[in-house]
Symmetry: C2
Amino acid sequence: MISVEEATRLVRATAAPLPAERVLLTEAPGRVLREAVHADRPFPPFDRVTMDGIALRFAAVATGQRQFIIEQTQFAGQPPTPLRDATAAIEIMTGAVLPPGTDAVVRYEDLLIEQQPDGRRVATLQVPPPAAGHNVHRRGSDHPAEALLLPAGTVLGPAEIAVAATVGATTLSVARRPRVAVVSTGDELVDISEVPAAHQIRRSNAYMLLAAVQQAGAAGSLFHFDDDPAALAAGLPPLMREYDVVLLSGGVSMGKADYLPQALRGAGAEQLFHQVQQRPGKPFWFGRHPAGAVVFALPGNPVSTFINYYRYAAPWLRAVQLPAPQFAAPEPAVLAADVTFKPNLTHFLLVSLRRSPDGRLLARPERAHGSGDLASLLPSDGFVELPAERQAFQAGEVLPVWRFRGQ
Amino acid sequence: MISVEEATRLVRATAAPLPAERVLLTEAPGRVLREAVHADRPFPPFDRVTMDGIALRFAAVATGQRQFIIEQTQFAGQPPTPLRDATAAIEIMTGAVLPPGTDAVVRYEDLLIEQQPDGRRVATLQVPPPAAGHNVHRRGSDHPAEALLLPAGTVLGPAEIAVAATVGATTLSVARRPRVAVVSTGDELVDISEVPAAHQIRRSNAYMLLAAVQQAGAAGSLFHFDDDPAALAAGLPPLMREYDVVLLSGGVSMGKADYLPQALRGAGAEQLFHQVQQRPGKPFWFGRHPAGAVVFALPGNPVSTFINYYRYAAPWLRAVQLPAPQFAAPEPAVLAADVTFKPNLTHFLLVSLRRSPDGRLLARPERAHGSGDLASLLPSDGFVELPAERQAFQAGEVLPVWRFRGQ
């Protein structure tokens, strides 16, 4: 039996970057970028007008001139035409190129525009611009051409997609989704479409894990094996060859039908550890197959399965999508009640999270009826990690929290 | 021009629940439940053994008995067989039904099991159980049959999927995804696959909004119109009939090519407001079409588009998936630097978020080069809302923050 810290270290040591694949920009949201994206042009690509109004030469304003004849009107999307008379102006729209010969923009709100009897339109400045460059977003002022905008390893959210679109990235290189075989084991389990006998239950863990791996950006497929050494010996090897991860639940305790550790070793997996000094989830088995699959064999009690998945497997599935695996530290949260836990085990305590009025994240322990109570997960947002060395924890202490719900 | 508070009220007043649809459990993660899910049996459905070991009658332990002959072995998934001799025991596995005649379980770790010369196996208690019920998860102790487990309106995460699987919900009624027409406008825009001329840019807003509406659980489709009243008059009405939301960017400022407000009204949309006392995003236009579509016409500067989407449209897209629309309050965050903003406008200030060691959420202002600087979004996680009535904000103040990145 090893410590949580040692188990964490051994799990993380198996994380290696998945290969990349190229996808359409519209398929890329949520994926992890595996190439660098650079500016194809300066940002912005031209001196860009940021207000609707008139463009003029500031030098004229500086001499005291307040009335400007409007030579023409220029829209966004039109090639710019130069100012002909240095004391005149060009009516201009947001997003247009600043016309050559002008260097400042006065917005409509600061102008009065009148048509003269000869048909010419004249703008009178109500509020003169303070300097050249007013209401102009200078070419290259945000980023020069070739600037690195998105480094490899960026998670592609809407802002990153917009930047990629701007530089014309119609496709992007992203990490291939981790392929996960989600395997339930246990003779007491029947499928969700069946009516269980009095001594049976439906296989809920597999559906839970399938949803959870999707949340981590992975692609899951469902399998089930009975507690039968022959079925395991036949069924496990193909999964360990074809998937990046084999994620099992059940069959790893001390029971007489807990064939999995032996079956996994028999199928060629190297055992990296079995049993961790933690509650819930002590029987967790972890290993690796020479063909490449990493094997998380989680205990079958639903709450154990759930907590161990989020503590060990979910961060791993995120990390292998990065060009160099990294693991984010859990957030600090403030314990909202006193907690005592006597066994010399790391304790994962289910909590609901809320934000206090002063901006602190409060973790309130949720009552769990032992690790079988699936429904105790519903009011919980995550779990705090109480170190094994201590038994008493006070309200107000700051502890690491692992979330399974966003925000 | 109306206040942010009034704009928020008018936007929220248009939120009505979308119809429900039935999907497979495997398609349900991330969706919003629109029916109640009840326990089909008690939780747990039988007196469930929670440790591998032996089941015995506590009354025998109470008399001082420490050695128990093992009558048989019972596995999870087997119908239970009763204890024949009240002073004997049954070897039992986690997840099995507690055998009739027994009322407590002693785990292997607290036992010594030896085989006698006559072949019988005898367990000696090293640590006697403290009471009846030890290591037994009592039938119905978590939830009675018919208990409400998941109310309508629940967002279906992995824990909820597990509960639904347990009660045999092979399909679930969920909110139909909001259908969103994502429309870019502007003659200066070219598609992402094209090389823009010097005065053109690529249409990044549409791809950004498409990714963002997916994040909110909606289904988006892309459209583009030039700044052409005839094209808008022909193209807008079908979108307003066929989509729940028409989400536009650009064309709502004071410029001469800003035809959208007029075109939307001409196409039958009722204008609910145009222009909001806010920066960025003052020109925001909002309305509703009698055929049902709600129209968010956001300003075209990318940062304005982005912030207005997350401030007004994203919460709306979440709310209409609920059985009765509700809007979550933004989180409180601690401003990490002094900020001054003089105009009498609500200011949406881009910030990066991190957690201080004491569990507080810190919001650090990010430098933005005006609302055109798309790349300024990249280091930001959201924006704080600085009320219009004040000009100076001190580091340490707690203010509402709207996130566009998880956690």
